[in-house]
Amino acid sequence: MTVELIIVSVPIGVALAIILGVARVYGNKAVSLVATSVVAVFRGFPAIVTLFIIFFALPDVGVYFSPYWSAVLGFVLVTGAYQSEYVRGCIQSVQAGQSLAAQALGMSKPQEVFHIILPQALRAALPGISNEIIYLILYSSLASYIGVQEIFGVARTFNSLNFRPIEIFLTAGLVYAAIATVCFLGFRLLERRFRIPGLGATR
């Protein structure tokens, strides 16, 4: 279940992050304000609180999500908010000259953002985004407290049946670690593949 949860949440989370990042940089005052507030709330609330609100509190106002979809929604919002900070920063760090050149050729603003700014900004944001995704893998353990069948919850159940805490929790931990490490290496390869010769942070 953990893997499913992550595979679904990650792409939607990234998409949300791009939307929020673009909204904050290019949106008008109202749009930008909404985006900034969303980011502030979901970066300020602990992830577990967000999960609890979605699963336990929303039913009070008539909104019901299953455990699985509560978790997906919660993680999408949280990771999207954190990632949008990287996206926003990277958009702003793409040199102004790129924007001018695009305009000088007659590109409209949407064309400029989609074809020129975002391709460069997202490449630069990749390390930060992959970092957040690794965090997501680890925080998915919290979903067990809203009823999602995932690694930690299973471990806890095992432990209450056969009390061998060190073995059980160490194994559970190492499973997460394995998933996280594989993803980490995967992202390194991805970064390498998308690298433009000469373009990159000087160390």
């Binding site: 000259g97 050149a101 305009q103 000088a104 007659g106 460069q120 010769p197 000469g198």
Partner: protein, 254 residues
């Protein structure tokens, strides 16, 4: 639409930034096939002028006509105006994530809605014109400054503009690379591509320009053929400027 020989007409252009008046009433015309050079001390508003003319910066006051149609009124679409003006920046501003070829072809595909193959073919042709067809697959970071600027020129040319603006195209280049860019610009000038060039390269102005416009204090202080402006100017500021430059050249010759 009247058939007109005047490609660009500027009237009373004014622009201030943070209370400083950068442009204080600039007016001039340029005919088809003419090459005009703008020079003057730094801060005289030369770059601002060019950027106002293609609406990258919006002027505060004044009017501009491109091929007889006013571009500074509300009906004009800035994007379509800029398609007809080629702009070459001092800092090149090549798109870093695209190859040289893609840099030239991308606007053709997105803005002019050309097919991919057609755009690629046209881009290759323009790169040939600037002697860079062999480096078409390279990324900007792999090119020298002179090569980058030539790609930038090709990129602007590909859009088939009616007029070219060059904003100090060689100021950011190492001295040994300036020549290759100036050669390309000379070739284009010989083909009678209407151009306005902001530059400090007096030698270029002397041989290529039809007219030099000298800017200072936000206005055109004096304009005329190169021989007049450089050797025999009337305005005091222009005299001083070229006197110093001539001294510099004479000192080098010694």
């Amino acid at each position: 639409m009247t058939e007109t020989n005047v490609v660009l007409k500027v009237e009373g252009l004014q622009k201030s930034f943070a209370g400083n008046k950068i442009l204080d009433g600039v007016s001039f015309e340029i005919d088809r096939g003419q090459i005009k050079v703008i020079c003057g001390p730094s801060g005289s508003g030369k770059s601002t002028l060019l950027r106002c003319l293609n609406l990258l910066t919006m002027p505060d006051k004044g009017r501009v006509w491109l091929e007889g149609r006013e571009i500074t009124n509300e009906e004009s679409n800035a994007n379509s105006v800029r398609q007809r003006i080629g702009f070459v920046f001092q800092e090149f501003n090549l798109f870093n994530h695209l190859t040289a070829l893609k840099n030239v072809s991308i606007a053709l595909e997105i803005v002019k809605k050309m097919g991919k193959d057609e755009a690629k073919a046209l881009a290759l042709k323009e790169l040939e014109k600037v002697n860079l067809a062999n480096d078409a697959h390279k990324y900007p970071a792999e090119l020298s400054g002179g090569q980058k600027q030539r790609v930038a020129i090709a990129r602007a040319l590909a859009m088939n503009p009616v007029i070219m603006f060059y904003d100090e195209p060689t100021s950011a280049l190492d001295p040994h690379l300036i020549g290759e860019v100036l050669d390309v610009m000379k070739k284009l000038a010989q083909e009678k591509l209407t151009s306005i060039v902001v530059t400090h390269e007096i030698g270029f102005a002397r041989t290529v320009a039809d007219e030099i416009m000298f800017m200072g204090e936000g206005r055109i202080l004096e304009h005329g053929p190169p021989s007049q402006i450089i050797e025999n100017p009337k305005h005091e500021a222009v005299k001083q400027f070229f006197r110093r430059i001539n001294e510099l050249y004479r000192r080098d010759e010694q």
